[in-house]
Symmetry: C2
Subunit: 338 residues, 2 copies
Amino acid sequence: MCNIALIGFGGVGKSFVKLLQLKKDLLPEDIKLKYVIKSDGGIYNKDGLDIDELIKYTNSDNEIQNHPLWSDVKFKDILKNKDIDILIELTSTNIVNGEPGYTHIKESLENKINVVTGNKGPILLYYHELKNLAERNNLYLKIGCTTGGALPSVNVGTTDVLGAQVTEIIGVLNGTTNFILEEMVKCKIEYKEALKKAQDLKIAEKDPSLDVLGFDTAIKIAILSKVIWDVDFEFDKLNIQGITNIKLKDLLLEYFSGNKTKLIGRAFYLNNKFEFEVKPMLIDKDHPLYFVDGKNKGVHYKTDILGDITVTGGASSPLNAAAAILRDLIYIIESGRK
Amino acid sequence: MCNIALIGFGGVGKSFVKLLQLKKDLLPEDIKLKYVIKSDGGIYNKDGLDIDELIKYTNSDNEIQNHPLWSDVKFKDILKNKDIDILIELTSTNIVNGEPGYTHIKESLENKINVVTGNKGPILLYYHELKNLAERNNLYLKIGCTTGGALPSVNVGTTDVLGAQVTEIIGVLNGTTNFILEEMVKCKIEYKEALKKAQDLKIAEKDPSLDVLGFDTAIKIAILSKVIWDVDFEFDKLNIQGITNIKLKDLLLEYFSGNKTKLIGRAFYLNNKFEFEVKPMLIDKDHPLYFVDGKNKGVHYKTDILGDITVTGGASSPLNAAAAILRDLIYIIESGRK
């Protein structure tokens, strides 16, 4: 149960390797990371890669392509060699067709390999299919990292409320828009200037569309809706509005009234009635998400018999996201279901 | 795995029976509540009690002693009959010697019976012994309800942070003191008057010592410390201070500076250094526990690799506490480890 392949070696993948070293005392002694695979090749050792050596290839000065074991090993080789139990899928997200993550996850599950992923695209588009495939094959598909990284939003909305019915999910789940909205108020600047600042600080991407148009928030709330309610819907038809039209003067007026504007994702489901919206909303200071600022995230669940439960925190960084991957990995190892 | 006995039939026990009816669609069809036991007798049906009928004995006008099956059945009969898988232990808490809960839990675990409890006394005093006993016998001992009822404080501090090291636990875990402190500020009254009000509203007990002297908060933080860190200590020697000496003028001064005083429990553990305190502390408005008011509760975990994670909510009522018991029961049934 301890043979692992990692596919995707960006910030989170590199941090994950660092955590394998940092947390080795928590992990089984016989754990083996056998593959690290990128789009143009990878490294493979059937007896397990030397983590201490691999760490040297996690900084930008020393690309993994320089590793002595670098070869044209591909994902297909994992299936052919049949020598891993768990795939860590961390390739870039793609919300148009979910590839290449979708194929990696699907074919792994078809080949009796458990999957831990932080890749939102395939989960947004194919959650039910993949989840059913995992269940049929008695495997784990763990996706905790897709809905807020370190924030345990999936766990709190499922196992932590077992027996209760979640009726509403309200989330502040995007750090970039949090930052921009706060910066506008703090520095009294308009949206475009705050966005520029976020880009200079590498908090926003060069093309910030996914974040500022509300799609990232919508994806996370959509995934939580599918996981918690087993509800299906077309993502394209959801009501999604971003923060690009927000004016400084409106934010300031609200701020002086003791309120904050946040980009909120909200979903409601009861008796087959499903509502979904993402838009900037006013939050007053008595709301449990009022203080979810900066890079923090939070999700508020309304339930029938456990009251309202809110979980906040889990700051976003590649290390924190990798820690969410490690959490799911350890869960699988400890459950040892395979 | 679905034969159950309930021992203790106060507010939470009665609400638990109501939930068995309300949530029957979530539970296995062959679930059977075979025993309801009180200190002076109980009811027993080897084929399972009729829940719809039992509900009639959950209001104060119709005591369970009037039930046609009422007899002198005792806890010992459960062990003798060997016909249950899970004991729900809800007798009154006793923090001097943990009895009678301690004996019920211990003897059940010795007799291959899983246990779900909301009884703080035996868990505070004998957690390690009971947990080890459960593990040796491959059984579950689920205690989620002991540390904040519906609030999933145990889950968030354990499975939701798998792989991370919790270094600090900070909790607002007592609704009665929350209410009194808020009422003092809101109505500008001194402690004694606010306590009287809480007692009139049945929020505080006639003898409010456990709550107002800080012991209830301390018990919950102590249990979380034992569960999360496997640390041992003598409860008697902990640093515990309540709210009885708080003056209205101090609260008001803080309130006007944007702060609140709350009864906080705090524990820290790293490299064998253990710190523990319960006392009224100032919380500023940027703290994630600032808005944990009224009957709500909250706990804030500092971790090494997942950032800080806070969970709040889970309002306290017998129904919410019973829902926490149901959560643990369903967890055991779904895991089906036995």
